[in-house]
């Protein structure tokens, strides 16, 4: 049996490939969920009662059920129930299904954070803007938005860090992300089998990327510290 040192180049190569998929899913989720969350939060704050109710029930369902189940439903449901496998069988199809599931799931969590951020702004800010002849959109854009962003950075940081690790759930639909890549060496892959260390080694990737993220998010928090 080869030593760990000899296995290293092969394992690192495979893990890098898996990690790329992890990163892709991470950024796709953020790119989709950050704006979609805003739309959902608008819905859950809407004065139109029906829209408000529907949005809140939707958020309850998504937050109330496991992301893993949502992944399975979104990936398998169209094929098994409607006999129209919209995702296709390849890695691309699995990625698309996973990205949709993650975006919807995270958008619901983000929407509640946004709602807290917007509703936490004192009414006086809106009233001051109105009295100064500003439109509601101008008040949102020029007055409330930055205050809201400042308020939501800490809770959003939490969610974003959780997201990095949650991406590993996508292996339930066989998306070849980093945990999947590490685990492959237990069953046997590229001449290495029965090795558990690559799976443990994936944690280093998570630790490093979350370390970098933490630094970036702290920097953002500091940049917004110019006002209180």
């Amino acid at each position: 049996m080869d030593t760990i040192l000899q296995q290293m180049p092969v394992v690192i190569g495979a893990l890098n490939k898996g990690f790329l998929q992890t990163l892709k899913l991470f950024f796709a989720t953020l790119a989709g969920a950050i704006p979609l969350g805003l739309v959902i939060s608008m819905g859950s704050m809407s004065r139109i009662r029906l829209l408000n109710r529907i949005t809140r029930v939707f958020v309850w369902i998504i937050r109330g059920s496991p992301l893993m189940i949502q992944l399975l439903i979104i990936y398998y449901f169209p094929g098994l129930v409607f006999h129209t496998p919209i995702w296709g069988g390849g890695e691309d199809g699995r990625f698309h299904a996973a990205a949709i599931a993650f975006i919807i799931n995270y958008a619901c969590y983000f929407s509640e954070i946004y709602r807290g951020g917007i509703q936490g702004i004192p009414v006086g800010q809106e009233e001051a803007g109105l009295v100064l002849g500003m439109t509601r959109f101008q008040i949102f854009w020029h007055v409330k938005l930055l205050q809201m962003i400042k308020a939501i950075v800490p809770p959003m940081s939490n969610e974003i860090i959780t997201l990095v690790k949650d991406t590993s759930l996508a292996r339930i639909i066989a998306l070849q992300e980093i945990i999947w890549a590490g685990q492959a060496f237990m069953k046997g892959s590229q001449g290495i089998s029965g090795a558990i260390w690559p799976l443990f080694f994936t944690a280093v990737y998570y630790l490093l990327s979350i370390g970098i993220l933490t630094i970036l998010l702290n920097r953002l928090e500091k940049r917004l510290a110019f006002f209180r």
Binding site: A128, L130, H142, F227
Partner: protein, 260 residues
Amino acid sequence: MAILEVEHVQKVFGKTEVLHDISFSMEKGMTLSLIGSSGSGKTTLLRCLNFLETPTAGRIIVNGETLFDSAQVSQKTDHELRKKRLHFGLVFQSFNLFPQYTALQNVTLACELLAKEKKAWHTDRKRIQQEIKEKANGLLTQMGLADRTGNYPYQLSGGQCQRVAIARALALEPDILCFDEPTSALDPELTGEVLRVIRSLAERKMTMIIVTHEMAFAKDVAQQVVFMDRGEICEMGTPEQVFCYPQKERTKQFLAGYHQ
């Protein structure tokens, strides 16, 4: 001609009548003190004038132009409402400065947004921005804040914040400037600087309506005093009439409470 005429204004929240048949008028350049105990409807009246609340009934007329008439239930567009609002300025009890903007930016923001909607903005942007900035600097200097223009609200004392808020309201050149208990959120030693500024505005013939619990100031600064009680105007007249020779029992009780 009166600059402001308020006719039979009524405001009902649910089943509670907060304002009942409020009528008064005031002349240009005058200062009106609005006094009364908490919950008597003073703040609601100011909010109605600034269109933060819609009166249930009545009329509000500024410079002969009817801004609000409950008999004409027209669907007001946002644009019209904004134009009407600009006749009035409002200074809040809790300042409501925008925390992410400096003192200067707080004063210029609304002016710039309004200027952007005019055609001249596109051809003459630099000059217009410069004018707005100079005007804002001038107002802040007038408020005694020349050395504070670059500070954020959290770096200012309550009295300084309130003076920035006054400059911000003045920048839009309202016909009538309303103050809603401008010193109630301030430490006693800071009320003086805000009252001095308001007094200087009165000397410059700014038309003002001041809701206040500072009785000596209310008497001193105004030409007209309105005493409100339980949503009604109980007594009004010159400061001398209301403070020295009150006719109504309720007014006497209220003033006696302050003399103790």
